[in-house]
Symmetry: C2
Subunit: 208 residues, 2 copies
DNA sequence: TAGATTGTTAATCGATTAACAATC
DNA sequence: TAGATTGTTAATCGATTAACAATC
């Protein structure tokens, strides 16, 4: 594994490769080739091999790739084998849907708490076992439980100050669903955005 | 506007420009420059100007750009000025969160109905005014109301067959939240993916 | 062995960055 | 006018595609 400084496009394809490989495994396929993967990815055999070459020699000439081996390798690179704890900020509709629907464990995360500022929500659970705490007690909680990452499912305006608070108390990995460009001083901080509105506008563009 | 065949990276930045411009307008800023926009976008003045040059001459030397003019121009390019109707497939947690939270109207869409296969949900409303119909009646409904686009908030396995049905009856623009690579024969069909799991894995990658 | 398929190198393509003349 | 800032051209950089020798 010569996994130093991967190009961004490769990083973004990695989860997709992983998903395709799981699909193959679940339908009983034990080996595959760059050509077959390219088909699943709507890509080219050339690109698949070029991408994989970032990780050393994963295949065998004349044979192809072993599906489980790739899953294991990519799972490792993607960090799925360590469990990291995560908190959720903003227990509204979207936060609740994610807490209840999304399989954090499958991706190596464990959701340990939720936060909100609504008096009605504080003290209730967002899903069985995950309590909603007062956002005022965020720093206190982080100090004690040291979550590594946070999901931001709050409003556009609330997101920026909240992100700053999180980073300041050491939560530097942010999964941002808020409709905003977060700006953070801390150069260690990583923000991964899921912005519905950007996405629907791209669809909208293609409709015209 | 010489808006023929935009490069994909530009298309994906367009919604972000739009958001930054709205932000400026809402804080009372009337004119801006490539430098200021670059800062908001975490980009460079050069890239901003290069991007904008795809749309003709939007600015003025020595002055910069007029914020409202850009908003209007980009809104137009993004198709936000026409209203298109949309249906939602899969009225679970996520579908419900989107139906209730997401401001479709702001982006030029109107949500007109939801579909599900759960007998308990059928006949109820996903939000005031938006009824949940039996997925069996999808084709019938589409025939009558001709929605142009659909949001897919259903399970990984249900997504592919459902996408095929939609495309077959003429709904060719799909906003896909399901964790799958949709494969569609129809070359007119456009799929825009919002895959939470791909995104969390990218975050996960950076955490290792 | 012969056929298949990799890993890698080289060629092409496209996107970003830099520079600057045009001009408000 | 002088200063600011665009629009555009050219240079650089990086990603994708093609080709093929290596080898299982």
């Amino acid at each position: 594994m010569k996994n130093h400084k991967l190009p961004e496009p490769v990083i973004r394809r990695l989860p997709r490769y992983y998903r395709c490989l799981e699909l193959l495994r679940d339908s009983g396929v034990e080996r595959t080739s760059s050509g077959k993967l390219a088909e699943l990815m709507s890509s080219t055999a050339s690109q698949v091999r070029q991408d994989f070459s970032c990780f050393g020699k994963l295949g065998q000439q004349g044979y192809g790739y072993n599906v489980s081996k790739l899953i294991s390798e990519f799972g490792d690179i993607l960090g799925m084998k360590t469990v990291r704890s995560m908190i959720l900020i903003g227990a509204g509709h979207l936060g609740s849907a994610i807490a209840n629907n999304f399989d954090f464990e499958h991706y190596g995360f464990r959701l340990i708490a939720a936060f909100d500022n609504s008096k009605e929500l504080i003290g209730t659970v967002i899903r069985p076992g995950i309590e909603i705490y007062d956002i005022d007690r965020l720093e206190e909680f982080v100090e004690e439980y040291r979550p590594q990452a946070a999901v931001l499912t709050l409003t556009q305006t609330a997101a920026q100050p909240c992100a700053e608070r999180l980073v300041r108390c050491g939560v530097k990995y942010l999964w941002n669903f808020a409709n905003t460009e977060l700006k953070l001083e801390d150069t260690d901080a990583v923000v991964e955005d899921v912005r519905f509105s950007d996405s629907i506008l791209v669809l909208s563009y293609y409709m015209t």
